[in-house]
């Protein structure tokens, strides 16, 4: 199905901005409102828009379903390991990343990597859910 040229051209300009905003919300999640889930939703939405404008094949070449599921499971495993370590480390006196300066991007210990893992997970899972629904594979 061929889409309108206006849609495609506007998409070329807007989608990178949407993705940039999503990444900003994820990375800045420990300093301002936002975080992994909200940022991940924005990223996932950008993937859905790409699917709707440029068609299924365009996004399949970029992110195949296999790749998405790999991202999902790896970020889940990463999340479980880091979160479990942070649960266990507080009272077992295991080494802990420095808290850092409040206000810096690299601060607040485990929260930044956890946010990134959640963001990747939510973005891919939103797109997977969408593609399952739209391809009638429920």
């Amino acid at each position: 199905m061929e889409r309108d040229i206006i849609l495609k051209e506007i998409g070329k300009i807007l989608i990178p901005l949407v993705q940039l905003f999503g990444i900003y919300v994820i990375i800045n999640g420990h300093l301002s409102p936002g975080g992994g889930f909200s940022g991940g939703t924005i990223l996932g939405t950008s993937l859905i828009i790409m699917h709707l404008i440029y068609g299924e094949n365009f996004i399949k070449n970029l992110y195949s379903k296999k790749k998405l599921i790999l991202i999902i499971s790896i970020s889940l495993i990463f999340y479980t390991l880091i979160k479990g370590y942070s649960f266990l480390s507080t009272e077992l006196n295991l080494p802990h990343p420095p808290i850092g300066n409040p206000g810096n991007i690299l601060s607040s210990g485990f929260i930044l990597p956890l946010n990134i893992a959640v963001g990747l997970l939510v973005a891919s899972i939103f797109y997977v859910i969408f593609s399952i629904f739209i391809r009638d594979e429920v």
Binding site: I72, S73, I74, L76, I77, T80, L81, F87, L88, L92
Partner: protein, 485 residues
């Protein structure tokens, strides 16, 4: 390190369930799932041994003052229930390793193990946690994964049963969340021990709110644990699911919610508070109605798995009856019945799966004469049925006996009649299967049975379950002594 076993159990199960997503090979998936569950089982043994010597383990995560953090509290009932549940789960996984292909298509098998791992993790979470909101999250995870294992068999009735279950349990979880909102607005805490301290001194000023909270929790968790008038989803869901899944659902999933109700009624509130409201009488009434009507509806069923599922409704009636008596001994018997029934009902479901597979028919009447074909399997079924009916030493008898004693203790002697009537009704639907199975002849002529002989190694999980059932019955005196919340 032993103090961290509860969180380790949950983390290990969840971690391995995510590794299962990547692994493609079904054999490896089975191995990973079974190995992680066995590991968790051993950890639970260590935990239970520690708790038996030390009485109580608390584990604060996040915030040492547990004003904001999550707290796990493991006393003796939690440790024993966790131990029995992991044991039952290992046995069911062992069984499903050779059984599951018969009911579930090849490409969906890894989903079963993925969901089972998440399900067990969330069930253990509900058992261990001492935090209301955390328990809500675990309850939701367990409901969704339970829906997932029902729908693995891609048939019309499964989808219907799943949507029924999902809608009913959404109502239930909505009510539970509302109750949590109420209690948070009264006390400002989510930790059950902290709430208890505040509410024990202040409940006279909030009598209406406390009544609403009790009602919301009872109905919400009652829907999820299939207490009698709210049970309509259970027979469909439990009978249409693949057999290992129905064993998990019937033996473990519904029990966890009723245990949560016990924790809320008697640990968050107290015997004194709940007995001053009408709610305990209502719970008692629901329990006795469940005991009678669940059995009556089980008698009317024509399919084996449906009958066993309705029997679960009746057995939930016993547990709720024990809670409704509102005494320490009543609660102890309710918890004893939780573990006794978990072991018994899982073995009954697994055996009925084998029987159905052997005869190729779901109907009870086609089971006539099956005892000549597979006498040992039907013998195991008979033992389970004996426990349900209440033959001495087996757990079913013990709970009925102690329930009657407690009825006398609280001065409600007429209630013994209900227990007696329910036992007689149990005889009416379990014994025909056994008797017709051993002595019925009319199906034998000209009948070709589908399956070959079942190898002994495949029967072993069921044998272990039945042995543990007898052991639980034999150790009843010691076990009930542990369960005084």
């Amino acid at each position: 390190m032993i103090n961290y076993i509860p969180i380790l159990n949950i983390l290990i199960l969840i971690l391995f369930s995510f590794i299962i997503i990547i692994v493609k090979n079904n054999k490896k998936v089975k191995f990973i799932s079974l190995a992680s569950n066995i590991f968790v089982f051993f950890l639970s043994i260590i935990l239970a041994r520690k708790v038996l010597t030390q009485n109580i383990i608390t584990l604060s995560l996040g915030d040492p003052n547990n004003l904001l953090g999550i707290e796990f509290l493991i006393s003796k009932p939690e440790a024993v229930i966790g131990l029995i549940f992991t044991f039952v789960m290992v046995m069911i996984l062992w069984y499903s390793n050779f059984y599951l292909e018969k009911e579930v298509s090849e490409n969906r098998i890894s989903f079963f193990y993925l969901l089972i791992n998440i399900l067990l993790a969330s069930l253990l979470g509900v058992i261990y946690t001492n935090d209301l909101f955390n328990s809500y999250v675990f309850i939701e995870i367990s409901t969704l994964s339970a829906c997932g294992i029902i729908i693995l068999k891609d048939k019309k009735e499964n989808i219907k049963a799943t949507i029924k279950y999902l809608i009913m349990s959404t109502i239930g979880s909505g009510l539970v969340l509302m109750a949590i909102a109420y209690i948070y607005s009264i006390t400002g805490h989510l930790n059950i021990s902290n709430i208890h301290e505040i509410i024990i001194t202040n409940y006279q000023f909030h009598r209406n709110a406390v009544l609403i909270i009790l009602g919301l929790f009872t109905v919400g968790l009652g829907i999820k644990s299939a207490v009698f008038p709210l049970h309509s989803w259970l027979p469909d869901a439990h009978s249409s699911a693949p057999t290992p899944a129905s064993a998990v659902l019937s033996a473990l999933v519904i029990k966890v919610y009723v245990f949560m109700l016990i924790k809320i009624l008697f640990r968050m509130f107290s015997y004194e508070i709940v007995n001053s409201f009408i709610i305990m009488d209502i719970i008692l009434l629901l329990g006795s109605m469940g005991m009678i009507f669940g059995s009556i509806m089980a008698i009317m069923q024509k399919e084996l798995k449906r009958m066993v599922a309705y029997s679960s409704v009746a057995q939930m009636g016993y547990i709720v009856f024990g809670i409704g008596l509102g005494t320490i001994s009543g609660t102890a018997i309710a918890i004893y019945h939780i573990i006794g029934h978990a072991v018994t009902k899982s073995s009954l479901f697994l055996i009925s799966g084998l029987l159905i597979d052997k005869t190729g028919s779901k109907k009870i009447e086609d089971l006539k004469g099956i005892g000549k074909e597979m006498p040992f399997t039907l013998g195991l079924f008979t033992l389970g049925a004996f426990s349900m009916v209440g033959i001495p030493i087996l757990p079913g008898f013990i709970s009925k006996w102690y329930l009657s004693l407690t009825c006398i203790e609280v001065g409600r002697v007429p209630l013994i009649l209900i227990i007696l009537a329910s036992s007689l009704l149990n005889v009416l639907y379990y014994f025909p299967i056994v008797i017709n199975g051993y002595f019925g002849n009319d199906n034998l002529e000209g009948k070709i049975y589908k399956a070959k002989k079942i190898p002994f190694i495949n029967l072993l999980p069921i044998i272990l379950l039945v042995i543990s059932m007898v052991v639980i019955g034999g150790m009843s005196y010691n076990l009930i002594g542990l369960f005084n919340i």
